[in-house]
Amino acid sequence: MVLVTGLLISGRLFLANGLVDKSDQLVKLEKNISVLEEQNQNLSTEIRDSSSLDSINSKAMAMGFTKLDKYSYLPETVDVAFNLRP
């Protein structure tokens, strides 16, 4: 009887100790999740800022692109790239 009680108490202590250890791991995981979520949000913000029209416009200007003010239309009846050889 004493042996069984002793085993049960030891088992409970062992289990409780294990759970405390798991709790520590859980706290660490929650912190990691929070850090990753923050980084994820910061990255999303950076992506949005980089793909904004202001940002694209300034990059395009820096690369030498300019707005085309004059454009021409090809007549529908003209075959383009056909009959090039005599």
Binding site: L26, T45, R48, D49, S52, Y73
Partner: protein
């Protein structure tokens, strides 16, 4: 004393002690039980509010025009400050201003900002004071590198605007209220319920070291994030519309202006811009009256852009045709004590109805109104939507109530034919012209096409059914007449200034409205506007441009005209519309 008596006394004593213990136990368990249980729960349980993430607002290409980002609140723990307040402020304030130049734009404002911060740092009997909010991570890192003792940061979620203040009037802004984030004006205000979501709560049992007890109880009410709004707005179109409008306002010395681009068949708003505008990130730095969207909340007399509407009514009723002539267009029309002139005091006897529109002839329009009859005219003003809200999903739409038909004086019946004596908002005008563009139907303008809930379920919003106002034939005839206006109007109507437009059929009408003030019209001040659509035979869009009080020139065709045609040219190119001619 006998031993029995002693035992009895001891037993009574024990009995009293037992009774006292029972009473005390009853006190703890019954009377104070609830209070103690709460105190115990406070020690065992950790409660955490789970705030929902406010829904994003996206343009039609899925780009988040409004999103959320983590920012920081800068606070001071006054008891821990070591340096003099002036020195502390001189360390962090320049960084705040570097990352938010709107905080202070000149030396006087910088001094005011410094003083207000010093004041905050010297409030008596205070431990904690909030200094600034919405601080970016880069600014926070820079302030932290100054190692100022007593300053700290708290994380907060703020609205993020990757396209800065683009479409600010449409979006509105978000403020911190008692119930959390509150949307104000524009879409943020109109869709507050959809965007805000529902907060959740976590109740978890923790040990003495605040670690969760894995076998303990856990109650979690899941938060529901706000829904996303997908707009019909095209951010590229919005950008060039804003650019052309700003340039137009500067060129013509206008006090402000607005421009709208709408799909005439669905009512989808493709772009809508107004200036002066505000920065939704720093809304508190702008006056209250700058938040309302002038496109829906400002009423004005439209002037001559009303003429195609009245003409459409007369042609639809079979009272006139485009070739009908005006027998009374030989000179000014006298109505009671008033004389109605044309804008340039030139008169065209026997003008056709096409000429009346091309010359923007006020006397000809009075004839159109008389031929149509006032009751029918009044009926058509209602049918074209001038007596009701457009139904746009934006906060703050204003409309003017038409007086009952029997309260109109003869002069009012005459002037309404050329857009005076009636007040409309700009979107009502765009909606009415869309009737001509789309074959005769009155559509309901809208901005949100789809709502995506937090689980990713799409709810497509159906286009509201439209009523037929004029026949498809009348609409076609009017469209052709408006093309003639754009092609043949007096030489200053600037379609030809953009060579690429010569190849397209564009329907347009300009208007120059006077500004009513205290029973008369304000001298020298006008509102210039142009409305139209392209390509006229199969319209892709309706565009309206309005410039307020231009100072360089007064006519709508001169001022709003060039802006209108630049926007149309860019739209035709953007949508790859092939030329008609």
């Amino acid at each position: 004393m006998k031993i029995e008596s002693k035992i009895r006394i001891i037993l009574v004593g024990f009995g009293l002690v037992v009774i006292l213990i029972l009473l005390r136990t009853a006190y703890w368990q019954v009377l104070s039980g609830e209070k103690l249980a709460i105190e115990a729960d406070d020690q065992h349980f950790y409660s955490l509010d789970l705030p929902p993430i406010r829904g994003q607002i996206k343009t039609n290409d899925g780009f988040a025009l409004v999103s959320n980002k983590e920012t920081y609140i800068l606070y001071a723990n006054l008891a821990e400050l070591k340096d003099p307040p002036k020195d502390i402020v001189s360390k962090f304030n320049p960084i705040l201003m570097e990352f938010n130049p709107l905080l202070a734009t000149n030396a006087a404002e910088i001094k005011d900002l410094d003083n207000s911060m010093i004041k905050k740092l010297t409030i008596p009997n205070t431990m904690w004071v909030r200094l600034a909010s919405g601080i970016t991570k880069i600014a926070k890192d820079k302030i932290e590198s100054q190692k100022i003792s007593g300053l700290g940061f708290l994380v907060q979620t703020s609205r993020d605007y990757p396209e800065a203040s683009s479409a600010a009037h449409l979006l509105g802004f978000v403020s911190e209220g008692k119930k959390g984030q509150e949307g104000n004006f524009g879409l943020e205000g109109f869709y507050q319920e959809e965007l805000k979501g529902r907060p959740g709560k976590l109740l978890e049992e923790k040990d003495a070291f605040q670690r969760p007890i894995l076998v303990g109880s856990l109650t979690k009410i899941e938060k529901i994030d706000g829904s996303e709004l997908i707009l019909s707005l095209d951010r590229s179109v919005q950008r060039f519309v804003e650019k052309h409008l700003q340039e137009g306002i500067a060129t013509w010395g206008a006090s402000g202006g607005s421009a709208i681009v709408m799909d005439p068949f669905t009512g989808n708003i493709i772009a809508s811009a107004s200036f002066p505008s505000f920065d939704p990130r720093n809304y508190s730095l702008f006056p209250q009256n700058s938040f309302k969207d002038p496109v829906v909340s400002e009423l004005y007399e439209p002037g001559s852009i009303m003429k195609p509407i009245i003409m459409a009514a007369a042609i639809n009723e079979g009272k006139l045709t485009p070739e009908s002539t005006c027998p009374v267009c030989t000179g000014p029309r006298v109505i009671g004590e008033y004389a109605i002139h044309t804008f340039n005091n030139q008169y065209h006897p026997n003008s056709t109805m096409i000429d009346v529109l091309v010359n923007s002839d006020n006397t000809g329009m009075v004839y159109v109104g008389e031929t149509l009859g006032f009751n029918k005219l009044y009926d058509y003003l209602q049918k074209f939507g001038f007596t009701q809200k457009t139904g746009i999903d934006l906060q703050g739409e204003q409309i003017s109530n038409l007086r009952p038909a029997n309260q109109w004086y003869p002069i009012d019946k005459a002037t309404v034919t050329f857009g005076q004596g009636i007040a409309v908002n700009q979107l009502q005008m765009v909606r009415a012209i869309s009737v001509i563009a789309n074959g005769g139907k009155l559509v309901t303008p809208r901005l949100v096409t789809t709502i995506v809930d937090s689980l990713g379920q799409n709810k497509e919003l159906k286009i509201k059914p439209s009523k037929e106002v004029i026949s498809p034939l009348t609409a076609k005839v009017l469209a052709e007449m408006m093309v003639r206006v754009a092609d043949e109007s007096p030489e200053h109507f600037p379609k030809d200034a953009i060579p690429s437009l010569k190849k397209f059929k564009i329907a347009a009408k300009s208007g120059t409205a006077q500004i009513p003030i205290a029973g008369h019209y304000e001298q020298g001040k006008t509102i210039g506007s142009v409305v139209g659509f392209a390509p006229a035979q199969k319209p892709r869009f309706v565009v309206m441009v309005k410039l307020d009080s231009p100072t360089v020139r007064q006519w709508g065709s001169d001022t709003a005209g060039p802006v209108f045609f630049r926007i149309v040219a860019d739209l035709l190119n953007y949508y790859n519309v092939t030329p008609t001619n």
